[in-house]
């Protein structure tokens, strides 16, 4: 297990280094720069622009800028944002709560609902329920999030007035119930698509399992059907789901670009979008490295959990 972990860690470090180099190069080679936002305001002269370029060190060769960035990154200084001068780590920390709140809620909801639908669909394969669920999943997967978000706002906020038209809380207030109220809209939108996805995963995973020999054996031994389902089928069907959940961790923290924009949700997705369009190099790099870290940790965790849940893997890893 120790050697397995060490190997994985080494792999991860090399990957992180590659991600940082490629990300840095692409970001800086893309046309434009972080000062454009100030130039567009029209109050800066060319000599002001040249002065700011020099002050921010943007006029130096790219490798020099990269090495400086890496050096600082390694000692925990992720730089300051060009937009608001605040440390990148503080900015990321300030956005992650909103994203976690939204993504955890919607993911838990969709795993629970999608999982249940998938199990029932697999057990009652080709039943009316299964057909409706399959068609429903296809429709849900094809609806553009952007459009669906606007439709939810239009119907539930503008027309019916049941839900707020966005934001994480009522400005100046923000009790627990108020926050839940604000969560409903974006959760519906996010959960719709992911419920469909989870139900499909669960259904196929269950179908694999219930055709296995040990299920037939259990049935022939007279184990009650419900017990077969809970003790034998679902537990085994959940194994591949662990991997998928692990790979889903970065998405939990990466946020949802479209939904966060439509619902004015101050999360990581929108931060990334804003930072890219402003060419806020330190923030973009910070988010990139953070996400890469999360992907690596997520897959590592999935492997570990898998090993814990399944003795066969543990044996192979030894």
């Amino acid at each position: 297990m120790g050697r397995f972990l060490f190997g994985r860690l080494m792999q991860s470090l090399v990957l992180l280094w590659l991600v940082s180099m490629i990300g840095f190069a692409i970001l800086h080679l893309a046309p434009g720069g972080p000062l454009s936002q100030f130039i567009a305001g029209g109050n800066l002269n060319a000599d002001d622009i040249a002065r700011l370029m020099a002050q921010y060190g943007l006029d130096r060769p790219l490798p020099v800028q990269y090495l400086e960035w890496v050096g600082r990154f390694l000692i925990g200084d992720w730089g300051n944002s060009f937009r608001d001068q605040q440390p990148v780590t503080a900015i990321i920390a300030g956005h992650i709560g909103a994203t976690l709140e939204l993504m955890l809620t919607s993911t838990l909801l969709s795993i629970l609902i999608g999982g249940t639908i998938g199990i029932i669909g697999a057990v009652r394969r080709y039943s009316i329920f299964d057909t409706v669920a399959t068609i429903g999943a296809m429709i849900a997967l094809s609806i553009p999030t952007f459009w669906f978000g606007l439709a939810v706002i239009y119907v539930f906020s503008v027309d019916l007035g049941w839900l707020p038209a966005g934001n994480r809380q009522t400005m100046g207030h923000g009790s627990f119930l108020d926050r839940v109220h604000h969560l409903i809209g974006p959760c519906i939108v996010l959960a719709l698509v992911s419920t469909a996805i989870w139900s499909r995963y669960m259904r196929s995973s269950m179908l694999d399992v219930i055709n296995q020999d040990y299920i037939r054996t259990a049935r022939s031994k007279g184990v009650p059907p419900f017990q077969i389902l809970t003790h034998h089928a679902v537990r085994n069907a959940l194994l591949p789901m662990i991997t998928i959940t692990g790979l889903h961790v970065p998405a939990l923290l990466g946020g949802a670009l479209v939904t966060e924009t439509v619902f004015t949700w101050p999360g990581m997705g929108r931060l990334f979008l804003d930072s890219v369009s402003y060419r806020d190099y330190p923030v973009v790099m910070g988010i990139l490295m953070f996400s890469a870290l999360m992907v690596l940790i997520g897959s590592l965790l999935a492997d570990l959990m898998y090993a814990l849940a399944d003795p066969r893997i543990r044996g192979a890893g030894r």
């Binding site: 800066l44 002269n45 966005g166 060419r279």
Partner: protein, 555 residues
């Protein structure tokens, strides 16, 4: 408001009061906000909140660092300036006891020596009294070459700053520079007692916990979400009516308008209501909609080093071929007003007597004929081997500008001119492409003035071409020695009326030379909910929350 505006019929009183507020009552308004007594009426403790919607995020709370328009909208409430301009351009003293003039001894007769007396009852939000040392520190910080200042225009002229006692400051100018008084009208004073202790002038700590002297104190900030301010109980001027201001960031314009409609925000500010919702917005119950001039002139910026555009006859013909009314009505839902020069018609130095613009394709074609541009085999004019063809660039994703480009290209084609379209993302356009005059022509909304002063040396002066001298914003590469002389006169003249006459001439000269083709005076559609009173737009600021301390809730 337009004449057929239904609100004018339904609510004549509301309209009247709003007009009166903005035009006639401007000085009074400014006085109230900016620290002068508003009257004897007793004022109760601040109460309630206003949620201000912006489609740009408030970024930097250090008022001297590079910042955007909405940041200034916060600065006006958090900090104070020596004086400030009301909606009609009249300067009103804030931290200064009076505006410096030759009569009151604030200015020497040649305008080279300044002496400013400060109020003695101003306290920083942490309780420390404001002194002349703070003003000195602020000016010197902007001058500090290490500091990432927004701009130094005017500040570089100041020298020999001296403090007399606690409340008098004096300085000399290297050369007379009349626009300085406007520039200082945007100089938000920062606390010397806090910032002088920090070794690195760019240390971000102050921006995270700003301390000012304004009517509001900093309360809380959630990046990507909002900034909130609380009323300052020790404000030296008339205290704020509202207890809390929340500057909410809503990145999507449609989402922002929806939140204005559903009442999640009380005021919809920068970038305003999308023009396509204008009619619907006017019919919303319990909402007041305003046509606020931004001071930005939408225009075609021409590169005068382009072989065809360098010909004045071509520029004149192009101008005649622009149907401003059609652009405004067909593309912009009739929101904007035709522009005639680099100043908004609401600006105090606007010249109303410029040669009128006339849309006439026949005249335009005849003008090109007589200038020797003959139609070639492909229908495009040629002269001395130069084809009358140029490209136009603007930022991608701006649908309305793209439509305007189409209208223009169609009309230009009718007079034998080819205009191709070469749009690019903002981060590319506003980089070398703009600075090094790599474009043929640009379609942009430009604020030509600095701190609303009519001086445009940096935009049209021969010595302000960035490609040639590395400084300035004269990206058209326009050169006119007569204009240079006139601009110098305007910079060194301190008398308001004489300056006005000079800038009338400047506008006439630019109208004749056409280094850019003005399209329209940009109007921003803003709105407030019923019961939020006191709003007044002011094109002499970058953001109309400049007087939010005068806002109050009546419902």
């Amino acid at each position: 408001m337009k004449q057929d505006d239904p609100m004018q019929i339904q609510e004549p009183l509301l309209m009247l009061s709003r007009r009166g507020l903005i035009m006639g009552g401007a000085a009074l308004m400014a006085a109230g906000t900016l620290g002068l007594p508003r009257g004897a009426a007793a004022q109760s403790a601040p109460a309630g909140q206003a949620i201000i919607g912006f489609s740009q995020e408030v970024t930097v709370l250090h008022p001297l660092m590079s910042h955007n328009e909405v940041d200034q909208g916060v600065f006006w409430n958090l900090y104070s300036t020596l004086w400030a301009a009301g909606p009609d351009g009249t300067l009103v003293p804030v931290l200064a006891k009076a505006l410096p003039t030759v009569e009151n001894g604030g200015l020497s007769a040649d305008g080279m020596t300044w002496r400013i007396e400060l109020r003695d009852d101003v306290k920083w939000h942490d309780g420390t009294p404001l002194t002349a040392a703070d003003i000195k520190f602020t000016i010197e910080l902007v001058q500090n070459p290490e500091f990432r200042a927004q701009g130094r225009n005017g500040y570089t002229q100041i020298t020999d700053i001296a403090v007399e006692g606690d409340h008098v400051i004096t300085w000399k100018l290297k050369e007379a520079f009349a626009p300085l008084i406007s520039v200082l009208g945007w100089m938000f004073v920062v606390p010397s007692h806090i910032l002088s202790k920090v070794a690195d002038p760019n240390d971000p700590a102050f921006a995270a916990a700003p301390v000012g002297t304004g009517p509001y104190v900093f309360a809380e900030r959630q990046t990507g979400n909002y900034v909130s301010l609380k009323a300052n109980p020790d404000y030296f001027g008339t205290p704020a009516y509202l207890d809390t201001l929340i500057f909410k960031y809503i990145p999507d314009l449609n989402a922002m308008y929806t939140q204005f409609k559903t009442g999640e925000i009380d005021y919809i500010g920068l970038q305003g209501i999308p023009a396509n919702f204008y009619d619907e917005a006017k019919s919303l119950p319990d909402r007041a909609i305003y046509e606020a001039p931004r001071g930005a002139i939408e225009n075609l910026t021409l590169n005068l080093s382009h072989p065809a555009l360098s010909d004045k006859a071509v520029r004149e013909a192009l101008y005649m071929a622009i149907d401003k009314t059609a652009i405004i009505d067909l593309v912009y839902y009739g929101v904007h007003k035709p522009a005639a020069t680099f100043l908004s018609s609401a600006h105090w130095a606007y010249n109303p007597d410029l040669a009128p613009h006339e849309y006439d394709l026949k005249k335009a074609a005849a003008h090109l004929d007589s200038a020797g541009w003959v139609i070639g085999a492909d229908g495009i004019r040629v002269k001395d081997g130069v084809r009358l063809s140029f490209s136009n660039s603007t930022t991608t994703g701006n649908q309305l500008r793209a439509e305007t480009q189409q209208l223009l290209a169609d009309d230009f084609k009718k007079i034998g001119v080819e205009m191709t379209i070469n749009n690019m993302v903002a981060a590319v356009l506003w980089a070398d492409f703009w600075k090094n005059s790599e474009f043929d022509s640009l379609m942009t909304g430009t604020v030509y003035t600095i701190a609303a002063d009519p001086d445009v040396t940096h935009r049209f002066g021969s010595a302000a071409i960035p490609l040639e001298v590395g400084s300035g914003s004269n990206v058209s590469r326009y050169k006119n020695p007569a204009l240079d002389a006139l601009l110098l006169q305007g910079r060194t003249e301190f008398d308001h009326d004489k300056r006005k006459a000079i800038y009338f001439q400047v506008q006439a000269m630019i109208r004749a030379d056409l280094p850019f083709l003005p399209l329209f005076d940009t109007i921003q559609l803003e709105g407030t909910v019923k019961g939020l009173d006191g709003y007044a737009y002011n094109m002499n600021t970058l953001c109309n929350t400049w007087n939010a301390a005068s806002w109050k809730k009546t419902i």
